[in-house]
Symmetry: C2
Subunit: 643 residues, 2 copies
């Protein structure tokens, strides 16, 4: 037990007074297992994830010694620990993704592969429940001695998440029992009256709350609460990297390592939902505004700085060097989804949609076998996806996110079925009066026309809550074919239709899909005089391959008309944006401080969705397009001699 | 004698080895007294200077006690010293301007007024030659005790310049004798083997060299050389403000107070011309490149920073807060003219022209009775000329510059008559074989068509050297009506026509006067995405009065066509530029980091020469015009709520 602990606030400090009304989340997520995704946008990604990404990850985890580390720790194999001390977590994330894939596909190949690995993991667990191959093989006497750096609790969290996923997908408790033994072991060491400490990389907090939900064991929920509460009580400014500069209740600006921050606030939101305690709500709101209003890219990417894989100053959002780790985007989706469930406000779904369709999905190739670690918003042609990384956090994180995308689409509450994101398919939701089954027909995001058909209704009145995205100006709605003349005042961004729904009822909604020129707050200096193109939720970019190589000398005046068309044979079928553009051509020798404006020539522009970039010939890429030649860069050949 | 002095380098260090060929300047200036200016651009300014500016300056110098300070020091009047300790210099600069006005106009009113003041000055001179009303009246025992701050030597310099001008204009030696006594007094105190020191504000160096030219007394030249050499020998970084951070030979970047720097380098160039010593040439070249390539505004204005009235970092050239003191522009004209005379290279005339037609001339109202101290390149509507300033350096500096503009037009050397700037009128120049008289006919700067007619020629071959401005692309030339088919290779930017000229010979040259969109080096961040309009030597600006008040939300796309026309009834007759422009209109609430690009609407643009601005209704002004709405500012009413 750490001597500091008694001096700190105790858990009671984060529990509201009994007289305060418990916080009730606006909705629960309809789990992905009750949703089918049958569209042309996400379904091919889910399929590629199952057929390519997951097998690819198993192969690489084997080739890089990540799996054999477990065999060695289990004494089934000779040899030294291989790789980085947190490599166990990659295997766990992969197993979590494999479980989700099995849950929706019943893929026996993946199931069998996962079971083999789970057996090795179970065998590697120590008799007291401890499980971490690095410490068991390398520093067996140093367990729990370096919480800030060594990721033991982080790895444990990923094990637990994977185990809950496996149990949920298969009904088998074998992995879950491993997780329970590990969680009990950790619970025997840390906590009030025991040892003070918290994970140097957040993750276990999320996992313990999932384990609580899976088992009903309140010790896990309370241990998660302990870790959330313990963090930052020592107020060490140098621990800003893992958000331990101050207690969570005092957090204001988003700081430090981006993935860590996302996992922390995700857990805090989950804890709020599961306890009804309002303790962290004000801090979550403050930090959410900090990141979404001042430190987020248009793609939803976060963490602009390579040095700390994390946050920088307000409005410091450079494009070429944007770090925007794929894992941070996944964490951003987690957190915003949780915030949406808590509050039922579409602003959180707006950010979820922004990151899911752009800065997250860009992390994986169309084929599913290559991954971005960093997702910059501009490239000089040297940035490409790779099959693997020494620090391989992103590939298995993609593997576990994509199968669950259906779980982000709908919410359910006693009185409503919520549609949070739009994608063709079906949902089975539960409202107070019973089960609702609904079909969504749309080619979203290529079109903004969406039709809902009730397949089964429970009788009784409930509400269909349709999210109106911020980008959707003047949506129109039809109820059983009858146009609804006027949009009502939205409730927190949702168009709510309350009635006694009957099977066969149809609702159609049309979001006009305008090509939007987006501007950034002028304090984002790098984007001054530039626009980014969006259509619906998709951020577009220009790639060299569509423009004879160079796109950085292009500019797009405000009065240039843009049009859109669907190209069925391009990248599996995408909507492109085209129009006239111009490009700089004259070379500039800035030995003279002032000179006649350089020559320009007319050319064209073809923009593709950002999440599809780097799937063809390598080349330059930009998201933010100058509107005038003075903001554009000189052509590459001349750029060499320029500053 | 300062103890430090013996340890310093001695004068011999700045004198070249006797074996080195003395430096010979490319040309001598044809003095303004041998030039007539008979155009519609400068002549009205010269007239306003004589009829308004000079009488206005006399009146204000009287009203503010500047002249009565001399009466008090002469014990012809009771009372305390009034004003700032360097106020004597304003009177001297006014007298210098008055002398120049008398030289070209024989204005008896000005002559009489000047004589009265000169008599007071002579009476205020102390028996040992000392003359400074502040010290005489306030701190008589503290003479020469605060060279860095108290401007005694600076004031002495302006007295000497005024006295040389008066003698030159009138033939009277009464003021010159005062100057000689003062110079002798200073020479008795400072110099090698005497006291170490140098002016905290450069100026005396220029004056002593003029006094040497007027009298032939080499002591004055050598004392100027001493001050040039002594400066910075102590290498005090904190003395960067007056360029004493390092010896002049080591200067590289332009630093410190802008007016001080200009007067220093002007004197160094004069010293080079008068001694043939190459000592300072490399430093002058380095510093000239520093200012013209990295620290100068498009208008030729210099000194971007208010705090030090001087230089800042490379490319730090903000528009709204551009300090650009009028006196610094005058100094910039002085120095570049001197550099031109030394080298005969048009690049120096380009800068001279840039500052004379723009950032210098803007310093005075068309009427001649109001003055800018600061000449920013943008205004929100609050920046206006004033009749006077507590620190009134600028009004009398304008008064002494304008009458001499003719002296900047032509140069003479043994083998050539040089035309450095273009303006209608006549010149009498001296080449080796005798006197040349030439008439220049043109409406420059409104037109680029210029015709020269030789009125008198001395016989023998010499060259007519016509400067080709950098802005003049593809000039055409006719000799006695015959087109010259091809432009020869220019010699240092001059088109040289060597022949045996005869009276009646005519040369016509045509500089196409295109409307140029100018761009700044992209390292000037504030101008990225903006252009400035120029036509010939004139920088243009947009004024609120021509645009219904606001000009800061305007933008001018690259493809908008601009036209020009002469407006005879506007501001005495000016060429305006007009075209279609656009303006931002939608209000922007940047609580959202990204949003749809704001609305724009088409409008028009009417640009006037920058040097004519603030002569009508007060309002906004910009020189650098955004090319796209994202670079433009929101309209004023909405700007209040934006960052």
């Amino acid at each position: 037990m750490n001597a500091l602990w008694p001096a700190l606030l105790t858990m009671s400090a984060i529990v509201s007074s009994p007289t305060e009304t418990p916080f009730v989340p606006a909705m629960r997520a309809v789990p992905f297992t009750r949703v089918t995704v049958e569209d042309s946008f996400w379904k091919p990604r889910i399929e590629a994830n199952r057929t390519q990404t997951i097998p690819h990850n198993f192969k690489l985890c084997e080739e890089t010694g990540r799996i054999s580390n477990f065999a060695k720790a289990a004494k089934r194999m000779e040899g030294k620990f291989e790789g980085i001390y947190f490599n166990d977590s990659d295997v766990y994330k992969l197993l979590e993704g494999a479980a989700y894939a099995v849950a929706i596909s019943r893929d026996e190949g993946i199931r069998g592969k996962a079971d083999e690995v789970i057996d090795l993991i179970a065998a590697a667990q120590q008799s007291d429940g401890y499980l971490n191959t690095y410490y068991t093989l390398v520093e067996p006497d140093k367990r729990w001695t370096d919480l800030p750096v060594k990721h033991e609790l982080y790895c444990a969290g990923h094990l637990i998440e994977a185990a809950v996923a496996h149990w949920s997908a298969t009904g088998s408790r074998k992995f879950l029992e491993v997780a329970i033994r590990l969680a009990d072991h950790i619970d025997s060491i840390f906590g009030e009256g025991k040892r003070y400490g918290f994970p140097g990389h957040e993750e276990l907090e999320i996992a313990l709350l999932k384990l609580f939900e899976a088992t009903g064991e309140t010790r896990y929920r309370d241990l998660a609460g302990f870790f959330l509460h313990a963090r930052g009580q020592e107020r060490k400014p140098e621990q800003e990297h893992f958000q331990a500069h101050a207690p969570l209740v005092e957090h204001t600006d988003i700081v430090g390592h981006a993935v860590r921050a996302m996992y922390l606030y995700t857990a805090a939101a989950d804890w709020t939902a599961l306890t009804g305690q309002r303790t962290y709500l004000p801090a979550l709101e403050r930090v959410w505004r900090s990141v979404t209003e001042r430190r987020m890219y248009l793609t939803g990417g976060i963490g602009s700085k390579r040095e700390n894989e994390g946050f920088s100053a307000d409005y410091d959002l450079p494009n070429d060097s944007a770090y925007c780790e794929t894992c941070a985007s996944i964490g951003m989706a987690f957190w915003n989804h949780r915030m949406l469930l808590l509050h039922g406000e579409s602003r959180f779904a707006d950010v979820l949609e922004r990151v899911a369709y752009n800065g997250l999905l860009s992390g994986v190739s169309l084929e599913g076998d290559k991954f971005f670690y960093e997702n910059p918003l501009a490239s000089r042609g040297k940035h490409h996806r790779k099959p693997w990384y020494d620090c391989a956090c992103c590939p298995p994180n993609v593997a576990r996110f994509l199968p669950t995308i259906g779980g982000y689409l709908y919410g359910e509450s006693d009185d409503a079925l919520w549609v949070n994101l739009y994608a063709a398919g079906t949902v089975e939701a539960r409202v107070a009066s019973g089960t609702v089954r609904l079909r969504q027909d749309t080619t979203f995001p290529w079109s903004g026309d969406i039709q809902f058909t009730f397949l089964e209704t429970p009788g009784g009145t409930f509400s269909l809550n349709l999210r109106i995205p911020t980008w959707a100006h003047e949506p129109r709605l039809w109820l059983n074919g009858k146009p609804q003349p006027k949009r009502p005042d939205l409730e927190r961004g949702y168009w709510k239709i309350e009635r006694e729904w009957r099977a066969g009822d149809r609702v159609a909604i049309r979001f006009p899909m305008e090509i939007e020129r987006m501007e950034a707050d002028p304090r984002v200096t790098e984007n001054r005089g530039k626009v980014a193109l969006m259509r619906g939720p998709l951020v577009y970019c220009l790639e060299g391959v569509d423009h004879g190589g160079g796109v950085r000398s292009l500019f797009l005046p405000r009065d240039s008309v843009l049009t859109t068309r669907f190209e069925p044979n391009l990248l599996g079928g995408i909507q492109v944006l085209t129009g006239r553009a111009w490009a700089r051509k004259a070379s500039r020798d800035w030995a003279q401080l002032y000179q006649s404006a350089g020559q320009t020539h007319q050319t064209y522009l073809r923009a593709i969705p950002y999440c599809f970039w780097d799937n063809r010939e390598p080349g330059e890429m930009v998201v933010w397009i100058p509107e005038s030649p003075g903001v554009a860069e000189p052509p590459l050949s001349e750029g060499l001699s320029s500053p």
